[in-house]
């Protein structure tokens, strides 16, 4: 029943998601009756297919009732969403939960040796966590596209008469070309706000000739502009910003952070400051925008990648007062910053970290989805990699520092922690989300390993490859890719091509995110890698070289996949090949984007070599550790071959899902070199075999929900009939393999015979006299 339930829910899930992709963003009516109608429609559509495939009306009715009840709950809970979103969410949850149960049963009760079981268990937990992460992404997507009522959405703030507090704008700079900073400062000088100061904080720029001209620029721009050079200053950017707070005008109530390469809209302050009239408002954030986002695929897809966060994640977070302070183009109340002890100098994403501490104190935050300025994106793929490394590393640091504050019991441990459940959820998922790329790499590793062992004719079973295990994850994968492209198209208003390019841009950074996750977990001190925004003298070779590890991983995946299919052509190796090509393409996107970024680099003008601050991203070292770890894993994995598999059919195997009969033979009895086990092979010219045999007096009782009875004693032989739990059948004969028995039985109420896999039935009566059929 579990398998039928799983397939039925996958059907519902696919139907509802496809409908959402078509009309999810257009359905602007929120109505409980409509939601119930749509829920019923999806259930009935799925049921119709189910009735014509596996029948079992009573089962379908029961499952439908459960799904309807669950759907009803979510319709009530998600009142602000449209019907498409509510039903898709319900069905995705049901399918995911059923698949996790299925894989658990498969893991727990497959007849594996102990080491295989440990690997299978690790794989199960990995899968379960990945599916949970995918659910979180699905929730976020549906939340922004299918939401009809926004409770905290502010398009434009109304001015508050007489409320014009002084603002101190801080411009941190490190080794910035003076012309870049000057441009920024000039836009700040043109701000349409009566009371503000600008503090340019240059920290640790080594060459005086680089920072000295800033002093002159500030002097020219007027008395409100101050320049400060900090030498040998610890704490990188946050250390410098902490000191800058001490130098703000005492009258300043609000602090704004502006990156040195930003051109700011004159209305930036006038539009945002009214938010602070509410004394509980601690910080306001606006999207970061980029002026150099067009001209080539790399720039455009990178730009869309940034926009995803501000168009999808932030609006969803804003509904729960759980936004992230992203630094530049944000304003923060000075007294609150002082109250939390300033920026954290250990964390390299100090802005996001500070927002969590602020929300912990119960303050309010606001996201206004309107860009008030634009900056520069990283010059090339290498720069993008470093930036993503820094963000991810910082995210992991936040998780390390605050994990306990995000736990469900946090209120009880620390009554001063005023984070709501939703805020904790968003920050926790935000931090854990980075690990998706780690899991993705591990999946790729397991796939490659499986394919390699198959290639050398030594299949090692960690988990039986049932049809369900191949089909349902593929359905999940396709649905989630479509969902991702759909949300990109809807929120970012991009073409399908650009949505795909953006998606690949995201995934191409999987390797560097994996490194950052690992380094973030094991390294105590932070690394601060400034994103290069001035051109270096990199060449084509350099562009390829900086993505050497991604290229290697991608090529290994693709080649192994092709070889696996080439050496043994069947639909399972075909699926494996497709999966490996997909995985490989994600990593191979990195060298492609790196090469594409050369065009952008060439268009950026005069090359300027910059010195980078901070400790380096240790890609080579980390990659070597990953390789070493992989070798250890492969070695351990190989040990599985030398451990004996369970002889015969263990008793616990009766709890396995019914569809495992298709593959179990492969895991316990290796086929002979000729490809077919002699003992169980049907002699040529005698297919199908229906020998006339006398009754043995032995019966077999089906112990699983449903079992396939086949033409031959082989898992891939044609199915003759289904048999169901507790059905009793007469046993006429058996195969000649005690370790993997098949019973030759008489089909009830029929003169036909077929082969039943021994694992799915329990014998009663003497089995010594059962004739062996060759």
């Amino acid at each position: 029943m579990l398998i039928r339930a799983l397939y039925l829910s996958a059907l519902w899930s696919a139907i509802s998601l496809f409908a959402t992709l078509v009309m999810g963003s257009r359905l602007r009516r929120s109505d409980s009756a409509l939601s119930l109608l749509w829920l019923t429609g999806v259930i009935l559509a799925g049921n119709l297919v189910a009735i014509f495939t596996f029948g079992r009306l009573l089962e379908i009715f029961g499952l439908s009732l459960l799904a309807f009840g669950f759907g009803l709950y979510w319709i009530i809970r998600l009142r602000d969403w449209n019907a498409a979103g509510q039903v898709t969410w319900t069905m995705t949850l049901i399918t995911t939960a059923l698949f996790i149960v299925y894989t658990f049963l498969l893991t727990a009760f497959s007849p594996l040796n102990p080491l295989s079981f440990v690997f299978a268990l690790m794989f199960f937990f990995l899968e379960a966590i990945t599916l949970a992460m995918a659910l979180a992404h699905m929730h976020e997507s549906l939340d922004v596209v299918c939401r009809l009522r926004w409770h905290r959405l502010v398009e434009k703030l109304e001015p508050v008469p007489g409320y014009l507090p002084m603002v101190s704008l801080q411009v941190p700079a490190y080794n910035e070309p003076v012309e870049v900073v000057e441009k920024t400062l000039k836009t700040l000088a043109a701000l349409n706000y009566p009371d503000f100061e600008v503090l340019v904080v240059d920290n640790n720029t080594p060459v005086q000739a680089t920072w000295r001209p800033l002093e002159e620029v500030c002097r020219r721009l007027g008395p409100n502009f101050h320049c400060l050079h900090l030498d040998q200053w610890p704490g990188y950017k946050s250390g410098a910003l902490n000191f800058a707070v001490t130098q703000t005008d005492p009258r300043a109530e609000i602090i704004g952070i502006i990156d040195a390469d930003y051109e700011v809209d004159p209305d930036f302050l006038r539009e945002l400051v009214p938010a602070f009239a509410d004394p509980q408002m601690a910080f306001v954030q606006t999207p970061q925008d980029y002026s150099d986002s067009t001209g080539d695929v790399f720039s455009e897809s990178t730009y869309r990648g940034y926009k995803y966060f501000f168009e999808v994640s932030m609006p969803s977070r804003n509904e729960r007062n759980a936004i992230i302070f992203a630094g530049t183009m944000g304003l923060i109340r000075k007294s609150v910053l002082e109250e939390i002890g300033g920026w954290d100098e250990w964390c390299i994403t100090e802005d996001a970290e500070a927002s969590l501490r602020i929300l912990k104190k119960g303050y309010q935050s606001l996201y206004i989805n309107r860009a008030f300025g634009s900056g520069m994106m990283p010059i090339n793929f290498e720069g993008l990699k470093k930036q993503r490394f820094r963000w991810c590393f910082g995210g992991i640091q936040i998780l390390k520092k605050h994990w306990e504050a995000l736990m469900p019991w946090a209120h009880w441990v620390d009554p001063g922690n005023k984070l709501t459940l939703a805020q904790r959820y968003y920050y926790l998922v935000g931090g854990l989300g980075w690990f998706s790329d780690v899991f993705n790499l591990l999946f790729a590793f397991f796939l490659v390993l499986g394919a390699v062992f198959n290639l050398f004719s030594s299949p090692i079973k960690v988990r039986p490859l049932t049809d369900t295990v191949l089909i349902i994850p593929a359905v999940f994968l396709v649905l989630h890719i479509l969902r991702f492209i759909w949300v990109l198209r809807n929120r970012l208003k991009v073409s399908a091509d650009m949505a795909v390019a953006t998606m690949y841009n995201f995934f191409s950074l999987g390797w560097v995110v994996t490194l950052a996750c690992i380094q973030g977990l094991v390294q105590r001190e932070g690394v601060f890698l400034r994103t290069p925004k001035a051109t270096t003298s990199s060449k084509t070779w350099h562009a390829v070289q900086v993505t050497q590890w991604e290229t290697a991983i991608g090529l290994i995946c693709v080649l192994v996949g092709l070889l696996a299919f080439g050496s043994d052509r069947n639909w399972r190796t075909f699926s494996l090949c497709l999966l490996l090509i997909w995985q490989g393409s994600l990593y191979l996107a990195a060298p492609l984007y790196s090469l594409l970024s050369l065009k952008r680099e060439a268009a950026m003008g005069v090359p300027v070599r910059i010195t980078e601050q901070g400790k380096p991203m240790r890609e080579q070292l980390a990659a070597r550790w990953v390789v070493a770890f992989s070798m250890v894993l492969i070695g351990t994995f190989s040990l599985i071959r030398f451990l004996p598999n369970p002889a015969g059919l263990p008793d616990y195997a009766r709890f396995l899902p019914a569809d495992t009969s298709d593959i179990f033979q492969l895991s316990t009895a290796e086929p002979a070199a000729g490809g077919e086990d002699e003992a169980t092979a049907t002699p040529a010219g005698l297919t199908p075999v229906t020998p006339t045999l006398p009754a043995t007096g032995t019966t077999a009782t089906i112990t699983v929900e449903s079992a396939n009875c086949r033409e031959k004693p082989r898992p891939n032989a044609g199915r003759v009939v289904f048999l169901y739990r507790d059905q009793q059948v007469e046993v006429l004969g058996r195969n000649n393999d005690p370790a993997n028995p098949w019973w030759y039985i008489k089909i009830p109420d029929s003169d036909e015979t077929c082969w039943l896999w021994g694992m799915t039935a329990r014998l009663s009566g003497p089995d010594a006299g059962i004739p062996v059929i060759r």
């Binding site: 007849p111 102990p114 000191f243 001490t246 300033g342 015969g648 263990p650």
Partner: protein, 210 residues
């Protein structure tokens, strides 16, 4: 600045105040200079000396000194801020020397050592935070969780140790928060142990497949 002053110093400070009130800055300066020489730990002396200092550099130095002796004095902080601002207008260079919970000590471009108040709540840096009393219990709990993913047998062993640690440390927990934290560790350890039993059973039966 509230502590009782020595008679001589107090007299000098009174004189400095009087001279300053009469506009005799030089005399006021001399009096406060003597006061800082006799009582270098007296913040008011440094503050008054800064009020009459002949150069901005000396004014800054005195304010900085006064601030380091009495960080809570609002006037000192305010004037120190203005003085630093004035200095930075002329020379925007500041080099880091060291910092305390309350102030930074920096060296200006003109080689002046200045203490600059932080004006913010002190938060212990993450790496310097002392581990809580529950840390040993948490460590065992983490091991138990890891072992749960690796077959469960380790979790069957480690989870009770975590639970035991949590119970043992309850008595010495200094705050309600710590007590609650230990209670949660205990509950989690029990949950992990309960989950580990069937998982480790599934592993162990594979050693005896018959």
């Amino acid at each position: 600045m509230q502590k009782p002053l020595k008679t001589e110093v107090s007299q000098l400070l009174e004189e400095a105040g009087t001279f300053a009130g009469q506009g005799q800055r030089e005399k006021a300066y001399q009096a406060s200079l003597r006061a800082t020489t006799i009582a270098p730990d007296e913040p008011l002396a440094w503050y008054l000396r800064s009020q009459n200092a002949p150069s901005p550099e000396e004014q800054l130095m005195c304010l900085s000194h006064a601030y380091s002796l009495a960080p809570d004095h609002p006037e000192t902080r305010k004037e120190l801020h203005s003085a630093v601002h004035g200095l930075l207008k002329q020379e925007p260079f500041l080099a880091y020397v060291y910092e305390t919970e309350q102030f930074y000590q920096v060296r200006s471009g003109r080689n002046l050592l200045i203490n600059i108040p932080k004006n913010r709540v002190f938060e212990t840096p993450y790496l310097k935070k002392k581990p809580g009393i529950a840390q040993p219990a948490f460590r065992w709990l983490s091991l138990a969780l890891l072992a749960l993913f690796l077959g469960g047998v380790g979790a069957v062993l480690f989870a009770p140790v975590a639970a035991f640690q949590a119970l043992r440390l309850q008595a010495s927990a200094p705050t309600d928060g710590e007590r609650t934290r230990l209670l949660i560790v205990f509950i989690l350890a029990v949950i992990i142990w309960l989950a580990a039993i069937p998982i480790s059973w599934l592993l162990l039966i594979r050693f005896y497949p018959s």
